[in-house]
């Protein structure tokens, strides 16, 4: 009765083999490497790039351990950190020779030392979380209200243009919060405007009303359009963050949307955390607006009068006020490139901007129509606007080339260019969660987690072997298999392993032994009640099974709750916890039974079972 058919042993062998193969990469450790990946979607990392990298390394006299090309990136492995750093410089230099600006991201990384046949099987070491490898974690919240306000502002501008084209006269268009108010003198114009809005602005829902003697149209953004605009804004912010991080040169950045309005950024292995925070945390957006040159506005510039309606007052770098119109002519969206440089005449540090086709056209029109007037270029950082420069327009500027200069240092020009080049954010963001873990702390955490698991494991198996003799040995082997399978599954799924995850591993081992204790106690009890050894084993496993299932399901319910509602460290704990419960069902019941069957099952006249003391009352 204690025999397994061949196929059950086959399952066990396959599970052990798969488990060993996928666990193996974790033992090889990691080697320093340089990773080359594309910084723009237009460039590809291909054989050509590989040849250039190889040539560069040869020229520098560096011998790489291995060069692997996987997907969109090229990884070059070295035996020492020193060689890695030298190689990074050499490769960066070789790839950025064209025009000084690189379209590739060259970053330092760690690569598994496991042999190529393992990698070919898709076996990789466990993916370590930031608390184990060091790095930065950010959670950013996108200001969704600001997205809509901005959209309303730009729609108001579009309405103004559309009404002018159709010769619909109005007495004013204003954005109030997220709605747009349009006023008219008579009802015919109101009706005409309503038709224009219905024809050309599908995103808006306009309602006509009368406000005293004036006719009014109130337009609001339709809910579905609002949702779409917000989704696009988050998407654009993610793209922008990608670009900025590419500028930083991080090997395996994680940038994910979380929920409706949040973005999680993880930069493993980043050493210069201050710089990363600075670049990411800065939410610079560029806006071009006209300076209001009316008499009231001039007065408001010096702070002696109220800012006129429809205007806003910002300070320039010297602390002097500039009153600009609320209407935005251009935003950073129309920017294709920004490079630091110097002004041709004054030799001041400057940023050279290149605009896209739409931006160039608008810029050309505006400069032609406003010769002699002043135009302000504003940079918004963290919600605060600053006038970078407000030059007088001398003539029409075509070709989409614009230069910003004005009391900037070279460093400032560099940073501004980087921020602008990296793209503007569609909506302001705020860091609502941040974690920085130094690399030494990560290594220490690994050691601590590892020690906890090892010593706990040794203590439990030692006790089991002493208390239950051979059955204890079986239980211990099953526990080891549980650990093996758990590590294999984690490696296979590439689930993120964190310190709480390692704690869960230890805890799950402590809990998994429960199944074996239940079985062993049951077998002892059956023997105590006078059952024959073979039937005692059989009954012990059979009867314990229902209990094991019940208790594991309840534990799993708790695990799933943590997985569903937990975040950050809790989720890391829950993943390992749930997986561990599942693997323990296999190892503690199915596998350990296999061992017992193999050992005792063939002996027909079994007299004794080595399961420790069976006392008889």
């Amino acid at each position: 009765m204690n025999r397994y058919p061949i196929w059950k042993y086959a399952i066990i062998l396959v599970a052990l083999w798969v488990g060993s193969v996928y666990t193996l990469p974790n033992f090889f450790g990691e080697a320093p490497a340089v990773q080359v990946s594309a910084g723009k979607s237009s460039v590809k990392v291909n054989a050509d790039v590989q040849a250039r990298v190889e040539a560069a390394l040869q020229a520098a006299g560096l011998q790489p351990d291995a060069i692997t090309s996987e997907g969109a990136s090229l990884k070059v492995r070295f035996d020492s950190t020193e060689a890695q750093l030298k190689a990074k410089d050499a490769i960066q230099h070789a790839l950025s020779s064209d025009a000084g600006q690189s379209s590739y991201v060259v970053a330092l990384n760690l690569l598994s030392r496991s042999p190529s046949w393992l990698s070919a099987l898709g076996a990789a070491p466990m993916y370590l979380g930031l608390d184990l490898r060091g790095g930065v974690h950010f959670m950013l919240q996108v200001d969704m209200d600001a997205v809509l306000t901005k959209k309303a502002e730009s729609l108001a501008g579009d309405i103004r243009t559309a009404l002018r084209e159709k010769n619909v006269r109005h007495t004013g268009i204003n954005r109030v919060g997220q709605t747009i108010d349009i006023r008219f003198r008579d009802a015919t114009m109101q009706e005409a405007a309503l038709r224009v809005l219905q024809d050309q602005f599908a995103d808006l829902q306009a309602t006509a009303s009368t406000d005293g003697a004036e006719q009014k149209l109130v337009a609001v953004i339709r809910p579905e359009a609002a949702r779409r605009v917000q989704a696009q804004a988050v998407k654009q912010n993610i793209t922008t963050l990608h670009n900025r991080i590419n500028e930083l040169g991080v090997a395996e950045p994680v940038i994910q949307q979380q929920g409706v309005d949040r973005i999680v950024v993880q930069l493993p292995g980043v050493q210069d955390t201050a710089k990363a925070k600075d670049i990411l945390g800065r939410t610079a957006t560029l806006e071009v607006r006209m300076v209001d040159e009316s008499a009231e506005a001039r007065a408001a510039e010096f702070g002696t009068a109220a800012v006129p309606f429809g205007d806003e007052r910002y300070l320039d770098r010297n602390g002097q006020g500039v009153v600009v119109k609320k209407q935005v002519i251009l935003t950073g969206e129309n920017l294709t490139d920004a490079q630091p440089g110097f002004d041709n005449q004054t030799q001041e540090a400057a940023v050279h901007l290149t605009l896209d086709a739409k931006g160039s056209r608008i810029f050309k029109d505006v400069t032609r129509e406003n010769v002699g007037k002043r135009m302000a270029i504003l940079l918004f950082e963290k919600g605060k606007g600053e006038v970078v420069t407000a030059p007088v327009i001398r003539g029409e500027i075509g070709g989409g080339r614009v230069q910003i200069s004005g009391h900037m240092s070279t460093v400032e020009a560099n940073d501004t260019a980087l921020l602008l080049r990296a793209g503007s954010l569609a909506a302001p963001m705020e860091i609502i969660e941040e974690r920085t873990i130094g690399p030494s702390l990560g290594a220490e955490n690994i050691a601590k987690g590892f020690d906890s698991v090892t010593w706990g494991f040794i203590a439990v198996t030692a006790f089991m072997c002493v208390y239950y003799m051979l059955f204890g040995v079986f239980s211990s082997v099953a526990l080891a298999v549980n650990l093996l399978l758990l590590v294999a599954v984690l490696s296979m799924l590439q689930a993120t392993l964190t310190l709480p995850g390692m704690a869960a591993m230890a805890l799950v081992l402590g809990m998994a032994i429960d199944a074996n204790v239940l079985i062993n106690e049951r077998v002892r009890e059956e023997l105590r009640n006078g059952a024959a050894p073979q039937s005692a084993i059989h009954a012990g496993y059979d009867r314990a099974w229902a209990t094991i299932l019940d208790s594991n399901v309840t534990t799993l319910i708790a695990g799933l709750a943590l997985l569903a509602f937990g975040s950050g460290p809790v989720r890391g704990f829950a993943v390992v916890h749930c997986l561990g419960i599942l693997t323990s069902m296999f190892s503690a019941v199915f596998f350990s039974r296999g061992l017992v069957n193999l050992w005792y099952g063939r002996q027909k006249k079994l007299k004794n079972v080595s399961i420790g003391t069976v006392w008889r009352g």
Binding site: M139, Q141, A274, K277, G281, K382, E430, I431, I432, E433, E434, R435, T436, G438, L441, E444, N445, K448, G449, D451, S452, V453, W455, G456, A459, V460, F463, V466, P500, A503, A506, L507, G510, I513, D514, V517, E525, G530, A531, A539, A546, T547, D550, V553, T554, T555, I557, A558, G559, L560, A561, L562, F565, G566, G568, P569, V570, A574, G612, T613
Partner: protein
């Protein structure tokens, strides 16, 4: 080896009233401390900045406090973390100042005094996230309670489900009471530990309930009290050994896991100790008072029990 040679069933249920009184008093004490002192919530829940700074020599907390005080930050807590050389600094969030600026400022001040000071870790959590985490924690707790009750009600009977949940929620409250009394830091990993304990000690009650069901089926002449006593007596050996093994693991975490896992392991330790108590002495007693009867369980499983003619133990019953 055998630790438990118990010849006669221990009459646990005779003393049920005493056990329940004991746990009720502990429970009340825990609730009292929870309200009186409150939980010492970590930055994750309250929002704010946390910094871990490591020095080459044992750090003098008083001077570190003084250095930070010069920056004009209020409500700053400075304490040792793990070793005497590691210092943990907690600061509430300041409006209009990012955590990056805040931590940089502090680091600058600390480096001026001791150039070897090294920033090991910073953590910043905005206040809106903290509220969400607290709500998510409660949601998870509700999910666990409802999920386990539904499962137990299906597998056993609603009386068992109610008994198990009451017994084990009382564990959770007691753990929280300990954290409130000693003002230990309640962080996200501790919350995970608390919920894991809930699942773990329910599993304890399940083992005993399983035995009660089996006994109802096997010993037709025993009354409910005898059946419960027998079930607890025959499972006590495994209860203590299992908990001992889990505690060995947790102890290893407590010893080797460092400061980060300290409170996590501590919560588990308390949970495991009270888990034994509540599932052995409390859960069964509550189930008894709720009036479990043989008929409640047998009608569900009657067909199954009769059908298992291949059960090799049908003859083993003496």
């Amino acid at each position: 080896m055998e630790f438990f040679k118990i010849k006669r069933d221990i009459p646990f249920m005779k003393r049920a009233l005493v056990f329940n009184a004991v746990s009720f008093i502990t429970f009340l004490a825990a609730v009292f401390f929870l309200f009186q002192r409150g939980l010492h919530l970590s930055v994750e829940f309250t929002g704010g900045t946390l910094m871990e700074v490591s020095y080459s020599q044992p750090a003098d907390l008083a001077t570190v406090r003084q250095q930070i005080a010069t920056l004009g930050l209020s409500d700053v807590q400075v304490q040792n973390f793990g070793t005497a050389r590691d210092v943990m600094i907690r600061m509430p969030a300041v409006k209009g100042q990012s955590s990056a600026q805040q931590s940089e400022q502090v680091m600058q001040a600390l480096r001026q005094a001791d150039a070897n000071a090294q920033l090991r870790r910073t953590e910043f959590v905005g206040p809106q996230v903290g509220d969400e985490l607290a709500i998510d924690g409660l949601k998870a707790l509700a999910f666990v309670v409802v999920g386990i009750m539904i499962y137990l009600a299906m597998r056993f009977e609603w009386k068992f489900a109610v008994a198990a949940i009451i017994a084990n929620l009382h564990d959770v409250v007691i753990i929280l009471g300990f954290f409130a009394f000693f003002q230990w830091e309640f962080s996200l990993p501790v919350l995970a530990a608390v919920l894991a304990v809930l699942g773990y000690s329910v599993n304890e009650s399940v083992v005993i309930f399983d035995r009660i069901r089996e006994n109802f089926r096997r010993y037709r002449k025993m009354d409910t009290v005898q059946i419960i006593d027998n079930a607890i007596t025959s499972t006590i050996s495994r209860t203590i050994i299992t908990h001992g093994c889990t505690q060995l693991m947790v102890l290893s975490m407590l010893l080797f896991g460092g400061a980060t896992l300290h409170y996590f392991a501590l919560a588990l330790t308390i949970g495991i100790c009270f888990g034994i108590y509540s599932s052995v002495f409390v859960a069964a007693a509550i189930a008894m008072w709720l009036g479990i009867r043989r008929e409640d369980l047998i009608k569900h499983t009657a067909s199954k029990a009769e059908g298992s003619s291949d059960d090799p133990n049908s003859g083993a019953v003496v």
